[in-house]
Every structure is written in C-alpha cells, then in structure tokens.
Amino acid sequence: MTLQKQWPIFEVFVRARAGLEHKHVGSIHAADARMAIEHARDAYTRRQEGVSLWVVRSADIVASDPDDADALFEPAKDKIYRHPTFYTIPDEVKNL
C-alpha cells in the first residue's frame, strides 16, 4: 500500500448567531467537502460557537502576495481623510 497523501486543508468560517456574518476561525484537514463540514463541526462548534458553517478549500482561496503588501496597502496609510472622522454627529443619531 502506498502512503496516502495528506488530506487537503479547508478553511472554516462560523456564523455565531443568525444575522451575523461568517467569520474565519481556523482550518481543518478533510478528504472531501462533506467530511470537512463534519470536522469543522467537531473542531469549532462543540462549545456552541455557531449556527452555521462554511468550509472552503484553502487552495481555492486567492490571496494577496506578501511581497505586494507595500504596493497594495502602504498608499492607504497617509489618507486619513478616508475615515469618516471629520463629521460632527448630531445627538439625535443613535445607531451610527
């Protein structure tokens, strides 16, 4: 018997409550999508952390290249005017 290759990695996203977004919580190994959901359930939701799960093959995630970090993110640093901090908020507005 030949040694099996390691199972692929899946990234796990958990929705903590209805209405909230799914958040990345970690990763697991699994042979297929169904097993990935089961493993994610066992590893990340056994303490009532969530009501919904997403799993996605890590290989299917397109990530930015760390070498491009300067080009991609540095230019945003000196543009504080992009933060909406220059407005005075009327007292009547509660949920902003």
């Binding site: 018997m1 199972w7 697991i28 190994h29 699994a30 042979a31 297929d32 169904r34 097993m35 089961e38 493993h39 359930r41 066992d42 590893a43 056994r46």
Partner: protein
C-alpha cells in the same frame, strides 16, 4: 460451538443465570420492587456507556486528529445519555446509589448492554461499522421512544435523537467512503460487516427487559424496528458497494447480562479508579 459462542458464555457459566426479577434490580437478592423502568434505563444507559468507553479508546490513536475529535465527541454524547439514564435509574431505585455507582460499581454480569457495543475497536473501519449499525438502531428506537408514556424516556429520546442523527451521518459517510474507497478499505469494512452483522440479531430480539418495558407501554417492541432499520441501512451498504451478510439467528444475551469476554476487560479499565479508591472525586 464456534469460538464466539464460547466467548459469549465465558465467565457466565458459574454465575447464577439472570432472571427477570434480579435483572430489574441489578443486584441479586435485592428486595427492590420490580420496576420495568429501572431495567430498561440500565439497558439503554449501559449501551451508551460501554460504547462511549470503546470510542474513548481511540483518543490519541485515531488516524487523524480530526477523527480523534469526532470519536471523542460521539463518546461524550453517549456519556451524556448514560448519565441521564443512570441518574433516572438511581432515582427509581431509591436505595441511595448514584449514577457513578451504577457506572463504576457493577460487575459485567449486571451490565445489560447489547453484545454489539462491547466488541473491540480492532481498526478504524470496524469501529465505523459498529457505530453505523448501532446508530441506525438508536435512531429507530428513539423515534419511537419520543412518544413513550414515560416522560423521562421521551425527553431523553428527543434530545438524543439529534445527537444520533449526527452519529449516523458521520458513520454512514465513512462507511460509503471506505466501502467505495480503495481495495484495502473495502476489504476491511466488508470484513467488519461480516463479523458484526451477527450481533444485530440481538437488536431486534426482545429480552426480558424489553418485554417488561413494552408490556408497561414504556418502549416499542424492538422486533418492529427491524424493517425500518434495514430500510435505513441497506441503501448505504449499496452506496458503499458492500454486501449485506446473511442473517445469523444466534441468540445473544447481552441484555440478560451475558457478555463476551471483551466487556470484562473494558470494565477493568473503566472502573479501576472507583474500584481502587471508592468514592474518589476530583
């Protein structure tokens, strides 16, 4: 007599045969009034506890960390069921025994679990097949028990049903994956199925405990669970390209306290601490 028959009766030959009255008390010679609920709760609780202990043996040894967690999670679900049932049984008995006393201070002959659940893990595929056969049975049983006139049993069934659906999903998924996997994995789960199938006869053969519970309208007649169980199990076997073994009508008597030699070894490990340091807490 096959070696398995010898195992089934090993250690029990010298014991007085369990009778209906000492079965429901769990202690020979006890003067507790026969309550069919007590024996039935022990039977269901012992199934859960013994299988949980078996699954716990995988912790640290499963082929993948994720499967380690999966078995431990299923085991914890089963321990939850056992605790509920033992507390309930202890309360019914009213002799001051606790759930821990029932779990850790009874001898193999007082355990009323099915012979199926005490069978050793052997390999991953074998463990999966055992879980698959048992979870399918629990599903059918709990569905009926939800409407038991005994509210405690109905409550347990409603809660455990959700857990069992997951155990079923998990084990059925693996059975198909292994059955329809490599030559090696197919051979192993087919061998496991061939070996374990004979224990399923007991699942649908009413023993004294079942009969008393059915008579008291606490529980369904287990014989009626066989058809829906087969309807549940067979399509998965087919999907996993596995062949359903021939039925064997050997009469197992786990429910009457007659076990294979495996149960004694399991209990030695499980009960060691409470036997050596009675009442120890931490």
């Amino acid at each position: 007599m096959s070696p398995h028959d010898a195992h089934a009766d090993a250690g029990n030959a010298k014991r007085p045969q369990a009778t209906a009255s000492n079965l429901v008390t769990g202690i020979r010679g006890s003067s507790v009034p026969d309550d069919p609920r007590f024996g039935y709760a022990l039977h269901l609780g012992d199934n859960a506890l013994v299988l949980a202990q078996r699954l716990g043996e995988w912790v640290g040894h499963a082929p993948e960390l994720e499967e380690d967690l999966a078995f431990a999670n299923i085991a914890l679900d089963l321990i939850g069921q056992a605790r509920y049932l033992f507390s309930y049984a202890a309360q019914l008995e009213g002799r001051g025994r606790s759930e821990d006393d029932l779990a850790f201070r009874r001898d193999p002959g007082d355990f009323m679990n099915l012979n199926l659940v005490e069978q050793p893990n052997r390999d991953f595929g074998y463990t999966i097949v055992r879980q698959f056969l048992f979870a399918a049975w629990q599903l059918e049983l709990f569905q009926c028990l939800q409407t038991s006139r005994e509210t405690r049993l109905a409550e347990l069934a409603a809660k455990a049903l959700k857990e069992t659906r997951y155990h079923w999903r998990f084990s059925a998924g693996w059975l198909v994956r292994l059955g329809d996997g490599t030559q090696e994995s197919h051979r192993r789960v087919q061998d496991a199925l061939d070996d374990l199938w004979r224990f399923t006869h007991e699942l649908f053969t009413p023993g004294d405990i079942d009969q008393a519970a059915t008579h008291a309208e606490l529980a369904p007649n287990v014989a009626t669970l066989r058809t829906p169980w087969l309807a549940r199990v067979e399509p998965v076997l087919q999907e996993g390209t596995l062949i359903r073994p021939a039925d064997v009508t050997h009469a197992w008597h786990g429910k009457q306290g007659r076990h294979s030699e495996h149960l004694g070894h399991l209990l030695v490990g499980m009960q060691y601490l409470q036997r050596t340091y009675p009442g120890a807490q931490w």
